[in-house]
């Protein structure tokens, strides 16, 4: 047999029908559904008199519209209607729903892994681009549009043309104080927001292998911001340890058998990728974005770039527009940019490890009086665990607002929204114009960088604080 990449193995395992000149018909193992991109799909089913083919392979939650302060009091009537519509649709079509009352509720890409719905080797889709998150487990996971949501509901299949494969090899080790978020932001800043368009990316290399599961999810989550169809990381002991005992994962003997099968998924020696890029983790520093696209980012130790420094006319114009929107002058040190708001959360960085890292920075310090900072756990389970660990007390004592789970200010469909001109340090994944509120200015950073910015009132190099902390502990 010829050597195959992990992507090719998963693809081959799921192709139902292939014909030259047509997209392949791919079987879908898990379909995640949320309230924003599904109503028109269910409406389509009803109009055509169709049913959901495999309700047991479909799992729904509400996350995008959910208020995070007083969660049962949904004031916006249209938000409420969207959530009620999802409830009614799940009832009608027999789909399990983690609604606001459920301890399983949370951001769809946080709860999938948490419940063990996400397994290596599965095909996973959701009407949401950050479905790429699940690729951290070695699942082929990608975002689809609402027509495709309807298609998967009706047929449990998807028509897909086969993407190309790209290896992104990250050599070496991430330096002290540099996170997975910095890694993916640095990759996108270096290669651009469309470097992987048309590709499925597999991350390899020593730096990737030493990431925790949650860190791998952060990397795969933002893979879509590099244009990729999906991101993949080969499952290993870290993956198996994470999955063991999760609710929807096979148990006992079955688990051991599953692990053996999962081990087979790795890219064979000698398999060829259509493209490869390589980077050295040691070169990466904490990142802050300065513009209105996730690729417009730089090191915390650097300055806001001048539009003239870019190669093409289109890039120069984009940088100019971005700086005008962001109200930043070229040459400003990143560490002198003052902020008004801080958002720690989202499917990129709303997991327990993210909150622990932010809490470590916040501990014993106070949020700057000019900053409003909030922490929004990615799910109810994350919230519970954080509260068991007392993280909420650390945040509250430091002056952070401790919230309920949901997408929140990642895209500001709920009441958590930036006002015109407000500047936010955000752990989410998109800094597009208006994403967090019309006229709002978003800087993407890691959770520890966001927490430090909340306290200082401007961006700081968190590595300096961390070493301070470390030496404090040594001397105590």
């Amino acid at each position: 047999m010829t050597a195959r990449t992990m992507f090719e193995k998963i693809w081959d395992n799921h192709v139902i029908h292939e014909e030259a000149g047509k997209p392949s018909l791919l079987y879908i193992d898990l379909h995640l559904v949320h309230e924003v991109t599904s109503p028109q799909a269910f409406e389509g089913l009803r109009l055509a008199g169709r049913r959901v083919r495999r309700p047991e392979l479909t799992f729904a939650t509400m996350d995008h519209n959910v208020p995070t302060a007083d969660r049962f009091n949904v004031k916006d009537p249209i938000s409420r209607q969207q959530m009620e519509t999802l409830t009614a649709n799940c009832e009608e079509f027999g789909i399990t729903l983690a609604d606001l009352n459920s301890p399983d509720q949370g951001i769809v890409h946080v709860i999938g892994p948490e419940l063990g719905l996400t397994h290596p080797g599965k095909t996973i889709v959701c009407g949401d681009s950050h479905t790429s998150t699940h690729g951290a487990f070695g699942a082929l996971a990608f975002g689809i549009g609402t027509s495709e949501v309807e298609h998967v509901l009706a047929t449990q299949c998807l028509q897909q043309s086969k993407p190309k494969t790209m290896e992104v090899r990250v050599n070496g080790d991430l330096p002290f104080g540099v996170s997975a978020k910095d890694l993916i932001l640095a990759i996108i800043a270096k290669y651009g927001t469309d470097f992987a368009t048309g590709y499925v990316v597999e991350y390899t290399g020593a730096a990737i292998r030493s990431l925790t599961m949650e860190e791998r999810m952060t990397v795969c989550n933002m893979t879509i911001e590099g244009g990729a169809r999906a991101g993949l990381i080969a499952p290993d002991q870290t993956t198996f340890d994470y999955l063991k005992g999760k609710r929807y994962v096979p148990q006992g003997e079955d688990f051991l058998a599953a692990v053996e099968a999962w081990k087979e998924l790795c890219t064979d020696k000698g398999a060829v990728f259509d493209a490869c890029v390589e980077i050295d983790a040691a070169e990466i520093a904490p990142q802050v974005t300065w513009g209105t696209s996730p690729g417009m980012g730089t090191n915390i130790t650097s300055t806001v770039p001048s539009p003239e420094s870019f190669e093409t006319a289109a890039q120069r114009k984009a940088a100019q527009d971005a700086l005008a929107y962001m109200d930043l002058a070229p040459g400003t040190p990143m560490s002198e940019i003052k902020i008004d708001r801080v958002f720690i959360g989202s499917c990129t960085n709303g997991r327990i490890e993210d909150l622990r890292k932010a809490a470590e920075v916040a501990k014993g310090r106070k949020v700057s009086p000019s900053v409003h900072a909030m922490v929004v756990p990615g799910s109810q389970a994350v919230k519970q665990l954080a509260e068991q660990e007392g993280l909420h007390l650390i945040f509250q004592e430091a002056g952070f607002d401790w919230r309920e789970s949901g997408c929140s200010m990642c895209l500001a469909m709920n009441p958590d929204i930036l006002s015109e001109g407000e500047r936010c340090a955000s752990t989410s994944n998109r800094n597009f114009e208006g994403r967090q509120g019309r006229g709002g200015r978003t800087h993407l950073v890691s959770p520890e960088m966001a927490a430090a910015a909340a306290i200082a009132g401007h961006f700081v190099d968190v590595r300096e604080w961390k070493s301070e902390n470390a030496s404090k502990e040594v001397f105590q």
């Binding site: 139902i16 029908h17 000149g21 047509k22 997209p23 018909l25 079987y27 924003v36 991109t37 109503p39 028109q40 409406e43 055509a48 169709r50 495999r54 916006d76 249209i78 209607q81 969207q82 519509t85 009407g127 949401d128 681009s129 975002g143 689809i144 549009g145 609402t146 027509s147 495709e148 309807e150 298609h151 009706a154 047929t155 449990q156 299949c157 028509q159 043309s161 927001t193 469309d194 368009t197 048309g198 244009g227 169809r229 696209s293 289109a314 890039q315 114009k317 984009a318 527009d321 895209l411 500001a412 469909m413 015109e420 998109r430 597009f432 114009e433 208006g434 994403r435 019309r438 006229g439």
Partner: protein
């Protein structure tokens, strides 16, 4: 879905790279539960002030481009969120075709599913079209999917590539679900085998 065979319309040049789907249809308008009615919100934050007044300088508010049905754009058009509301809004507003040097994957795919034809041309060709659309009032293009060519009245003619299967579906207005259900036997056999 409406078939797309040949279309002639005024070209609106939108001179920005990386136009994301948040810009095409801001999230505050995603809450509808219907497929229609999104056109009024297309490019909302570029088209209207906070008070809902039209922003005169935005291309679609310029009288010459008001009736346009062909959108001319720059690199990486449609990046960001997978929301299908973006093509719904474009279609509802009246656009049947988007021309750009490159598109984000999901958006590109979503266009075909809604009867919009996304066309990739080279950067030079797109530059030339920008030139013409910005300088000639009421500049029109004819997009012929049968022939796979973009033409204007001054002799310009650019052939374009499109996946043959997508072209077939668009020419015939075929619905994907109907096509897939023809493979019911194979789907059932696959399910039985696992």
């Amino acid at each position: 879905m409406n078939p797309f065979v040949i279309h002639t319309g005024v070209v609106a040049p939108l001179d920005r790279v990386n136009v994301d789907t948040d810009a095409i249809i801001p999230k505050q308008f995603l809450k509808r539960i219907e497929r229609s009615g999104f056109g009024q919100f297309l490019f909302y934050e570029w088209r209207f002030t906070v008070d809902g007044e039209p922003i005169d300088s935005f291309i679609l508010n310029t009288p010459a481009y008001k009736e346009s049905t062909v959108l001319l754009a720059r690199n990486n058009f449609g990046c960001g969120s997978s929301r299908e509301h973006a093509p719904w809004a474009l279609l509802d507003y009246g656009f049947r075709c988007v021309i750009a040097p490159s598109f984000a994957d999901i958006f590109y795919n979503n266009c075909f599913k809604n009867g919009i034809l996304p066309i990739k041309l080279s950067e030079e060709q797109v530059d030339e079209l920008f030139n013409r659309a910005q300088n000639k009032p009421n500049y029109q293009l004819t997009i012929d999917l049968q022939e796979q060519v973009v033409r204007d009245n001054d002799g310009l003619s650019y052939p374009f590539e499109v996946d043959s299967y997508r072209r077939y579906c668009l020419l015939n207005g075929l619905d994907d679900i109907g096509i897939t259900l023809q493979y019911e036997d194979k789907i059932a056999a696959y399910e039985a085998s696992r």
